[in-house]
């Protein structure tokens, strides 16, 4: 299953600053969707752990990510090879940076995610929308990081098709949260 993606955004950051984030492994890898942890290896590549969830299938995946092309301050390419639950995937992500004037930088991004194996076979048609959602989340995280805005910790995509909090577990959590608020309020009153 091959998913190709491309697009562009503009950030109010200089090209050099934007490139510094995009080409710095330590800064870049936490922006990947469902990031869990990483370790930088001697060859400069990073071994990442990510959370993976497709419907009821949940697990941890690993990716080895390499910065394969680095032409400051205009181009950065990453190549990732990953494994997850009996499946493998290759990720290519490329970033072209151009001066957009007024201290802004236009970032053109493109890439391809190719997945192989059991997960694709088992999850069938669910993979593409989830992957598209995760790619959109990754790009948004990169945009925010380049803009100097706070990046929310990427969460595992909800693939159950239900709005958050509508399952029995969600309802239970909501109820517990309400109860906790009540208890905290009660305690404040007591103090």
């Amino acid at each position: 299953m091959a998913i190709r993606f491309d697009g562009e955004f503009t950030v109010a950051t200089s090209r050099a600053e934007a490139f510094a984030i995009l080409s710095e492994m330590q800064k870049f890898v936490p922006l990947l969707p469902t990031y869990k942890s990483h370790e930088i290896k001697e060859d400069g590549s990073a071994d990442l752990k990510i959370r993976v969830g497709v419907g009821k299938i949940r697990g941890t995946g690993t990716i080895n990510l390499k910065l394969t092309q680095c032409r400051p301050p205009v181009h950065a390419s990453y190549l990732g090879k990953g494994k997850v639950m009996g499946s493998v995937f290759n990720l290519l992500a490329e970033f072209e940076l151009a001066d957009a004037g007024a201290g802004e930088t236009r970032v053109q991004w493109s890439g391809e995610l190719i997945m192989f194996g059991k997960l694709v076979s088992l999850a069938g048609g669910m993979i593409k929308p989830i992957a598209n959602k995760d790619i959109a989340r990754m790009i948004e995280a990169i945009r925010l990081a380049l803009s100097g805005e706070e990046v929310a910790v990427p969460q595992l995509a909800d693939t159950t098709g239900k709005p958050a909090g509508t399952g029995w577990l969600g309802k239970l959590r909501a109820l517990m949260s309400k109860l906790a608020k009540i208890v905290r309020g009660f305690l404040r009153i007591q103090q």
């Binding site: 299953m1 091959a2 009996g86 493998v88 192989f116 076979s121 069938g124």
Partner: protein
């Protein structure tokens, strides 16, 4: 009492319904090892390295197999096809590269299935990804090669030409051109997946308990590959939970279990496939594309000639193929009297699961093609579908087809008339008019199909003249056991067809006893069953080849019993009659009270033979009969000769409405008429027809193996590859006619495959529903999403063209 023709309750059912059947996966012992097969996630990739150290270190792991073990220990499986198939290296594990998703890469034997799987997932395989090719036409460009040594993806090509094709086209009143038709990829989903246990002991004997359904053939491929003489190989099966052809091919996995057993010092190793493994790697039915089809018709709509280009996609390895490149020719003209054909037939490998024989193997694809042609021509020439068929049906039997096959008997017009009456054809025609006025999409379709049974293996020589196969045979041993009981063993290894029951019916009639007095040995064991190289359950042949062997064995046994009884009772053989007396089954002298029962006859031969004289030296009461149908090797140059002994037929009519909101085709009425000659057991035939119909309906509406562009199978579970269940099986009105075969001793014809009748029928009904929308049905799969796509893009103008002219006006 005559038992043949009665709906005798199946003898197997008591055992199976009570959970007393014994299947391959039921085998268990505490010391047994369990095999996990690590499969490739890629459809095409080079294996750079395999690290099994972590797997081997896991407690409970007995051994790990990789391609390097296999290379040393196995000879590649024999390929049936001519060059370049002989260059293809086919081994139980991939060695240098993988060529379909799900191809075995390594195997682990461990104390439990869970440990084996855990260990399997610790194996580190480094792959170098290669571009995959899943489209057969693209594969034929050879830009991406699967088997480099073969230097091409094309595994077969030939032209099947009969009659005067060019003349027929120049004389035609109408020429209908259809640019593309496609028969989709689906398979069978037997209740029981593939499974086996293997024990390769220190004496070098290899014992399998398995569910292979064509043991006589599989042994000939398996033994040489494992470098064993056949006599060292023992293959056993008890009950088999369905095969439909798919289990012919599981010897590839049996070899892995055997090699693991040997590596583990002869411990018993069990392999039991999961459903996803089954869907991904056990074997699919052939996918076929029909290109540039041209049909010549006379002014009345009678088809006079057909030319077309067919491309068959056999997946990654040919294995049983390219036999399918010939087998379709058993039904070259289908049920129609067309005399002129030019079929350019090519087969290619692609990065998909290899194909295997699947219910209606290879003929089903061709029969669907023929039925689509007839239907499309009928619509384009505004001839009603039933009239079109009546104009074109073969009517005189026996009928020699243009390629020399002999259709034994049949009456297709009578089947059509009966089906029309049963479904209320005229009533539905009226309802169809009313429905169309209301904007509803309602169609009525006819599908006529053939179930060719008992094939002539000589057809393999058309494909590869060097193959040492021809004719056909089946073997039966029948004896009176030490206690006088009648015991029958066969080489067929049934997988749900009721062989124990029908065999008992035949033997009971011959010996004039009750079927309950006959023991038909369950399953198959190469150590003591009678069998030949053709033995097995396939190609709709048991009613003819199996029961003819039984019948022949009965005649031999009866002759010996008469000789012995005549000696003991001092009577002429002609005076003796078979029957049941107060002391059980016996022979008696007509009109007297003199008799001898089976126990005493057996006692005389086996334990008390000093009472006998030399004239009875050859009486063993243990006889073997080999049935051999009257086949000749076909003319391989002309591709001419009789390829099959009998031709059962089925005619189905369906009424379908396409839901305009969901695009789902709903079956409103369905009738099935069957003609398999003389019926041995109507209940079993009825069951086979129902099963075949369900299988076909599932294939049309729900079952399709869909691959993405990089070779991932997207339908590898029952969530996405949805087989039909009782919940969505329509009511089927069932009827039959009998046109006895002149070529079998009992007038029966092989049946059970059904020739994919629902595929033809539902495609025709959907065509009828959608023709007015500018749609030509060009595919055999009609799930709601496919119908939705079709409705969005009417294709008639781009698919079909008609050239009509006044004959002689040129």
């Amino acid at each position: 009492m005559t038992w043949v023709g009665k709906s005798l309750q199946r003898k197997e059912d008591g055992r199976l319904i009570r959970g007393q059947g014994l299947f391959a996966d039921d085998e268990h012992s505490d010391s047994m090892l369990h095999l996990y097969i690590l499969r490739s996630p890629y459809a095409h990739a080079r294996i750079a390295s395999i690290d099994v150290s972590a797997a081997q270190a896991l407690p409970g792991v007995a051994c790990v197999l990789t391609g390097s073990d296999i290379k040393e220990q196995c000879v590649p499986y024999m390929q049936l096809g001519p060059a370049p198939c002989d260059k293809i290296v086919d081994l139980p594990l991939a060695t240098d590269k993988v060529i379909f998703q799900g191809e075995p890469v390594a195997a682990v034997a461990a104390d439990s299935a869970a440990i084996a799987m855990d260990a399997g997932l610790l194996i580190e395989v480094e792959y170098e990804m290669l571009d995959a090719v899943v489209d057969p036409e693209e594969a034929l460009e050879d830009k991406i090669l699967l088997h480099e040594a073969a230097a091409t993806n094309r595994t077969y090509h030939d032209v099947f030409e009969y009659g005067e094709v060019d003349k027929a086209f120049s004389d035609a009143a109408h020429v209908v051109k259809i640019n593309r038709l496609h028969f989709h990829r689906f398979a069978s989903t037997p209740v029981e997946n593939n499974a086996c246990t293997a024990e390769w002991n220190q004496r070098g004997d290899l014992d399998f308990l398995c569910n292979n359904s064509f043991a006589g053939f599989s042994m000939q491929l398996l033994a040489p590959s494992l470098r064993l003489p056949v006599e060292k190989l023992r293959i056993r099966s008890y009950d088999i939970g369905g095969s439909f052809g798919v289990k012919i091919w599981n010897y590839v996995y049996m070899a892995l279990a055997a090699l693991a057993s040997r590596k583990c010092g002869g411990r018993k190793v069990k392999w039991s496939e999961t459903r996803t493994e089954h869907l991904q790697g056990s074997g699919h039915g052939n996918e076929r594309t029909f290109l540039d089809t041209e049909v010549a018709l006379d002014k009345d709509g009678v088809i006079t000639a057909i030319k077309s280009r067919h491309i068959d996609d056999c997946g990654a390895y040919p294995r049983y193929e390219p036999l399918g490149c010939i087998i379709w020719a058993q039904v070259l003209p289908a049920t129609y009297g067309v005399r002129n054909f030019r079929i350019d037939f090519t087969q290619t490998v692609t990065n998909k699961c290899p194909v295997v024989p699947n219910r209606g193997y290879s003929r089903m694809q061709h029969l669907w093609f023929m039925e689509r042609i007839v239907d499309i021509c009928a619509h384009e020439l505004a001839i009603p579908a039933d009239e079109m068929r009546l104009k074109n049906y073969i009517r005189e039997f026996p009928y020699e087809t243009p390629n020399g096959c002999i259709y034994d008997s049949g009456n297709y017009p009578a089947m059509l008339e009966k089906a029309k009456q049963m479904i209320d054809w005229d009533g539905w025609k009226q309802k169809q008019i009313e429905a169309r006025e209301q904007g509803r999409l309602l169609g009525i379709g006819i599908g006529t199909t053939l179930d060719s049974g008992t094939n002539n293996f000589g057809q393999a020589q058309i494909m590869n003249p060097n193959l040492p196969f021809s004719g056909n045979s089946e073997v039966c041993i029948i004896c009176l056991d030490l206690d006088g009981s009648v015991v029958v063993s066969l080489g067929t290894g049934p997988s749900g067809q009721g062989h124990e029951t029908t065999t008992s019916q035949v033997v009971a009639d011959e010996l004039n006893i009750d079927p309950s007095m006959i023991t038909v040995r369950t399953g198959f064991d190469s150590a003591w069953n009678a069998f030949s190289g053709h033995s097995g359950t396939y190609a709709s042949q048991f009613a003819v080849s199996g029961l003819s062997a039984v019948y022949g064995a009965c005649q031999k046994l009866k002759a010996q019993m008469r000789q012995l009884a005549g000696f003991m009772l001092k009577a002429d053989a002609a005076e003796l009659e078979f029957g049941v007396g107060e002391e059980g089954p016996q022979l008696s002298v007509k009109g007297t009270d003199k008799s001898i029962n089976y126990w005493f006859m057996s006692n005389l031969v086996n334990s008390n033979n000093a009472l006998l004289d030399d004239s009875l030296a050859d009486v063993t009461l243990n006889v073997r009969h080999v049935y051999r149908p009257p086949f000749e090797v076909p003319d391989t140059e002309k591709k001419f000769g009789n390829l099959t002994l009998t031709y059962a037929a089925q005619l189905h009519i369906a009424v379908v409405e396409i839901d305009t909101d969901t695009c789902r085709p709903n079956i409103l009425a369905y009738a099935a008429i069957d003609d398999c000659g003389k019926v041995i057991n109507p209940q079993i035939v009825n069951g086979q027809v129902a099963g075949g119909t369900a299988h076909g309906i599932g294939a049309v509406l729900m079952e399709s193996f869909d691959y993405d562009e990089v070779g991932n199978l997207l339908t590898a579970t029952f969530s996405d590859y949805c087989p039909l269940t009782v919940m969505n099986m329509p009511d089927v009105q069932y009827g039959s006619i009998e046109t006895p075969s002149p070529f079998s001793y009992n007038g029966a014809k092989g049946m059970g495959e059904g020739g994919g009748a629902p595929l033809h029928t539902l495609s025709a009904a959907i065509q009828d529903a959608l023709y007015a929308e500018g749609i030509i049905v060009t595919d055999s799969h009609h799930s709601a999403p496919r119908v939705f796509e079709r409705l969005r893009a009417p294709n008639r103008e781009a698919t079909v063209s008609v050239e009509s002219r006044r004959v002689g006006a040129q």
